[in-house]
């Protein structure tokens, strides 16, 4: 009787272990495949530093890299992450801590829907908004601002640097890309923050409010100790997610193979992988593998630092 149970137990456990292994196999296969092909490609295209800084190869090139797309990805991801966190975190506090309010409920539903949105529709939305505001934005804000800057900086070297970041916007630009990425990230941060705040033990919450301090202190100083780990993880995972996004950038950043101002079309590593893999030329396909390895490294670093942070705390 007991032996049958034991056997059944082993079989059952065995099946679960198998399932667990089966779930992780694809992950390792992808990582191994991309790194083995990617590292080989990077070496053949001129070494790591050359690959990280030079322009993408044309079919006639012997070497090349992902310099401009990499800069674009880093710039847009950083801006998108700051924007996504700056809006997502307070929103999460609102729907997590003040869940009795009517609007908080509506916000929770909205965020839950937004998190399931196909990211390409977010790109389309930003594209449409850009089309509406571009002219006025350029005429009344960015045109005068860049004119003032130009006047202030004159012919100095700084002007050329500043003109990379400030100026009238093209239809496709890095800021539209960053806005789309921020919109993708907001619901992630908001939902994780909300559930973290909701999981704060009731006695602790009562104690926090009971001290007699302001609500701000109770929310952001006392309870933060409890939720900080989850929120930081949310920020890092959210950043990792948007770093690899392709769809929201198709209509917003558009892609660029050259170093060019962020106010115009901007490259992204994911966009270059997509474009290069569509060509028949080996040098471009190799650069796509190298680019995939670079992108995966960025994402793995973000993800692993999130895990380390979680374990460390």
């Amino acid at each position: 009787m007991t032996s049958t149970r034991k056997v059944l137990n082993w079989i059952g456990m065995g099946l679960f272990v198998l399932l667990g292994v089966a779930a992780t196999i694809p992950l390792f296969l992808i990582i191994i495949d991309i790194y083995s092909k990617g590292i080989d490609a990077i070496n053949r295209l001129g070494g790591l530093w050359h690959f990280l800084t030079s322009e993408p190869p044309s079919p006639l090139s012997k070497s090349g890299g992902v310099g401009p797309p990499l800069i674009g990805t880093l710039y847009m991801t950083a801006l998108g992450a700051i924007g996504g966190f700056a809006l997502g975190f307070p929103l999460g506090v609102y729907i997590g801590e003040m869940r009795r309010e009517k609007l908080a409920n509506a916000a929770r539903v909205g965020v839950n829907v937004l998190v399931e949105f196909p990211t390409i529709t977010i790109g389309l939305f930003v594209y449409a908004v850009m089309g509406l505001v571009q002219d006025d934005l350029n005429r009344y804000i960015l045109g005068p601002v860049s004119a003032t800057l130009k006047a202030a900086l004159g012919n100095s070297v700084f002007y050329n640097y500043v003109s990379w970041f400030v100026g009238p916007l093209d239809s496709f630009n890095a800021y539209a890309g960053a806005a789309a990425l921020a919109l993708v990230m907001i619901p992630y941060v908001a939902l994780i923050t909300a559930s973290a705040y909701a999981s704060v033990a009731q006695p602790l919450r009562e104690a926090a409010y009971g001290i007699g301090g302001r609500e701000f202190n109770a929310l952001f100083i006392v309870m933060r100790k409890v939720v900080s780990r989850a929120v930081l993880t949310a920020a890092l995972i959210g950043t990792a997610k948007i770093a690899g996004e392709t769809a929201p950038l198709l209509f917003t950043a558009f892609g660029n193979n050259y170093y060019a101002p962020f106010t115009g079309s901007t490259g992204a590593v994911s966009l270059w992988i997509y474009a290069a893999s569509e060509t028949p030329y080996n040098v471009q396909i190799m650069s796509a593998y190298g680019a995939a390895a670079v992108l995966l490294t960025i994402i793995l670093i973000l993800f692993i630092s999130a895990r380390i942070k979680a374990i460390h705390d």
């Binding site: 322009e55 993408p56 190869p57 044309s58 079919p59 006639l60 090139s61 700051i82 966190f85 700056a86 350029n138 005429r139 009344y140 804000i141 960015l142 045109g143 005068p144 601002v145 860049s146 004119a147 003032t148 130009k150 006047a151 004159g154 012919n155 002007y159 050329n160 003109s163 990379w164 400030v166 100026g167 009238p168 916007l169 093209d170 239809s171 496709f172 630009n173 952001f220 100083i221 933060r224 100790k225 900080s228 930081l232 558009f254 660029n256 193979n257 050259y258 170093y259 060019a260 101002p261 106010t263 115009g264 079309s265 474009a275 569509e278 060509t279 028949p280 030329y281 080996n282 471009q284």
Partner: protein, 429 residues
């Protein structure tokens, strides 16, 4: 404690950004009224659009005195979009010219497909468009006189097949095909490789042709390649014209018989043919040329009969160029003159397939430019127009020379390039 610092830092960063933005807006708002004279390039009241362009950076100091040419003293990256077919070639041209000008001029070209290229161009989202089909007639009438279009490179479509028994490496021979046989295969009337009609024109391979069902691979999305392929069949096979017709997408009869495979993009059609024994597919020359070894191992690429002179042509640079020249000659005879740069190029596009001699399946890839970039409301139009003129003048002259052409592309005959140069010269800042 560490978390306090992080949070404080984040909050501080956000506050700083907001403050900077507010100050910048305030400064921008006041600068218009206070210091318009101090700025050397401040917006003048007459221009409604901002003066400083976005994708181009103007060098404020010009120290080079050795420059005697009229090359613009501007630097910049232009943006174009459209045809996936021309993308590798345009990227190569841009890289070569970028190196030649010391980084002063480059063209960022993104693959969106011909249809999206035309629409992005017409909506002024990009500086120029590229398309495998000319501007559609209704849009041509709407924007007539505002833009120019001209061919920049010739493409040709090849028929690749995967039949291990008659692979080139095994037999040393490529298959002969005619427009009628290709049409009948895609219509599902010729079902097997050992069909007597195929055997009749391939006496050398007749014994080896296997009695296996033919799988026909085609593009699944709207594609310029499909348009070129179906137009060729529609022009040469009346039965095809009546039942299927031609266009960027068509309803494939072979699909209804369950022997058709749809694949997205040239690379996947090529892969589908390579991975499916007894299949046939149409792909752009370049996608066959770079995978020639693999195709030769599993099958090959077909000689196509030109129905006008009855000869079989293998897709080579010479035979395709011969076809293009002959087709343009026929156009000039029919319409009395070679096509003008601001004319409707649809009739030209229609004349291209099935030329009097040469390889019969060919197409142009067109570049779309505005005639007047200021009138179209582009910021810093002068710079853009100057850069565009410089780039495309080079493309149509130096760019057509052998060292600057990517494998798989066919340079323009010089009289066609001349039409393009005329178009480029009519572009005003």
């Amino acid at each position: 404690m560490q978390m306090t610092k992080t949070t404080t830092a984040i909050i501080a960063a956000v506050i700083v950004i907001v403050i900077v933005a507010v100050i910048a807006m305030w400064a921008g708002g006041t600068s218009r009224t206070q210091t318009p004279t101090s700025a050397t390039q401040a917006p003048t009241p007459t221009t409604t659009s901002p003066t400083q362009t976005v994708s181009t950076t103007q060098t404020p100091t010009q120290t080079t005195t050795t420059q005697t040419q009229t090359t613009p003293s501007v630097r910049g990256v232009l943006t174009g979009a459209g045809s996936t077919f021309i993308a590798p070639q345009l990227q190569a041209w841009s890289n070569i010219l970028e190196n030649a000008t010391g980084g002063a001029l480059a063209v960022n070209y993104q693959l969106t497909g011909s249809g999206a290229g035309i629409s992005l161009f017409l909506n002024k989202k990009v500086d120029f468009g590229a398309s495998d089909v000319p501007m559609p007639e209704d849009l041509y009438q709407k924007y007539k006189g505002q833009f120019v279009q001209f061919p920049a490179i010739i493409g040709s479509i090849v028929i690749a097949y995967n039949v291990p028994e008659i692979a080139y490496n095994k037999t040393g021979k490529y298959l002969n095909l005619t427009s009628e046989i290709i049409a009948l295969i895609y219509m599902g009337n010729i079902t097997q490789w050992c069909d007597p009609r195929i055997k009749a024109i391939n006496p050398g391979l007749a014994a080896e042709l296997p009695c296996k069902p033919i799988i026909a691979v085609h593009r699944s999305e709207a594609s310029g390649t499909t348009a070129g392929f179906t137009l060729y069949l529609a022009k040469t096979v009346p039965q095809w014209n009546e039942t299927v017709g031609w266009g960027l997408t068509v309803s494939w009869p072979i699909d209804k018989l369950g022997r058709g495979i749809g694949a997205q993009g040239n690379p996947r059609v090529a892969a589908a043919v390579l991975n499916t024994p007894y299949s046939i597919g149409y792909i752009e020359y370049a996608y066959w040329a770079v995978n020639k070894k693999e195709f030769d191992a599993k099958g090959g690429v077909a000689y196509i009969r030109n129905d006008n002179d009855g000869k079989y042509y293998f897709p080579t640079e010479e035979s395709v160029a011969e076809g293009a020249a002959a087709a343009l000659q026929r156009y000039a005879q029919k319409y009395g003159a070679p096509p003008a740069p601001d004319a409707d190029w649809n009739p030209v596009s229609f004349e291209l397939p099935n030329p009097p001699k040469g390889y019969p399946m060919l197409s142009f890839t067109y570049i779309l430019l505005w005639k007047n970039y200021t009138a179209e409301g582009y910021p810093d139009a002068a710079t853009r127009a100057a850069l565009l003129r410089e780039f495309f003048s080079w493309v149509l002259t130096e760019g057509q020379k052998p060292g600057n052409i990517v494998e798989g592309y066919i340079p323009l005959p010089s009289d066609v390039a001349k039409i393009g140069l005329e178009a480029v010269n009519s572009v005003k800042p």
